[in-house]
């Protein structure tokens, strides 16, 4: 087990790339301005990063029970994470979370909700702080 083969090194590289994707997704979750941007950044890159971790575990462990289960877990994650992100974004739009003020178009809001859900230039910070207090 102490000897490191080339296959192991390839697996470690894949795992490390996946972890870096995870970190970039989390940084995007902190840095982006509104809910939809955060969801877009975080969901896509964190899903791909965790799938990369699972593929790297499959490469390192080979076709042992651990590797097969990691592959199953990765495929399951790849199928379900976009579904939950879609439900979350639809729910937050129905809830009334405003888009960032630099947003260009909101077709869903214009068609279904009676007007685009884009925040105005001023007064939004106060309103969001009030909503925060209400939630707390």
């Amino acid at each position: 087990m102490t000897e490191v083969t080339v296959v192991d090194i390839i697996g470690y590289i894949v795992i490390f790339v996946g972890v870096v994707f995870d970190l970039l997704g989390a940084i995007g979750l902190v840095r982006f301005p509104d809910v939809y941007n955060r969801l877009q950044s975080a969901t896509k890159s964190v899903t791909l990063g965790t799938f990369g971790i699972m593929i790297g575990i499959l490469i390192v462990a080979g076709f042992t029970p651990l590797g097969i289960k990691a592959l199953i877990c990765g495929v399951f994650l790849l199928l379900t994470a976009p579904v939950s992100a879609h439900a979350l974004s639809r729910g937050s739009l129905r809830f009334g979370a405003k888009m960032w003020k630099g947003t260009v178009i909101d077709s869903y809001g214009k068609d279904k909700l009676g007007g685009p859900q884009i925040e105005s230039e001023e007064g939004e910070a106060k309103e969001s702080k009030e909503k925060d207090d209400e939630v707390a």
Binding site: D22, G25, L29, V30, V35, V46, I72, V83, S84, G91
Partner: protein, 88 residues
């Protein structure tokens, strides 16, 4: 190779703390739900990496169950966020 595993786990821990920052600091309740969802997926990765680090196969089973629970929980939270009720 143990240094590599330590670095990987530290990076994943930093990412989890960034999600925790968003959960505490998020302006609306939707931001907090996004943070919880992303943190669940990160914990799946951490559990699987712990499984290969100690060569314990059952930790990957736990990771599968955690992914399932995170998925169902996020769907329930999104449904609650959409209507603010759980009755339909």
């Amino acid at each position: 190779m143990s240094v590599l595993w330590i670095v990987i786990l530290i990076i994943l821990g930093v990412a989890s703390f960034l999600c925790l920052f968003r959960i505490f600091r998020g302006p609306t309740i939707a931001d907090r739900m996004v943070g919880v969802d992303i943190m669940g997926i990160l914990f799946v990765g951490i559990t699987a990496i712990t499984g290969i680090l100690y060569n314990l196969s059952f930790l990957v089973d736990i990771a599968i169950a955690l992914a399932l629970i995170s998925f169902v929980g996020t769907l329930a939270l999104a449904k609650y966020l959409e209507r603010r009720t759980l009755d339909d």
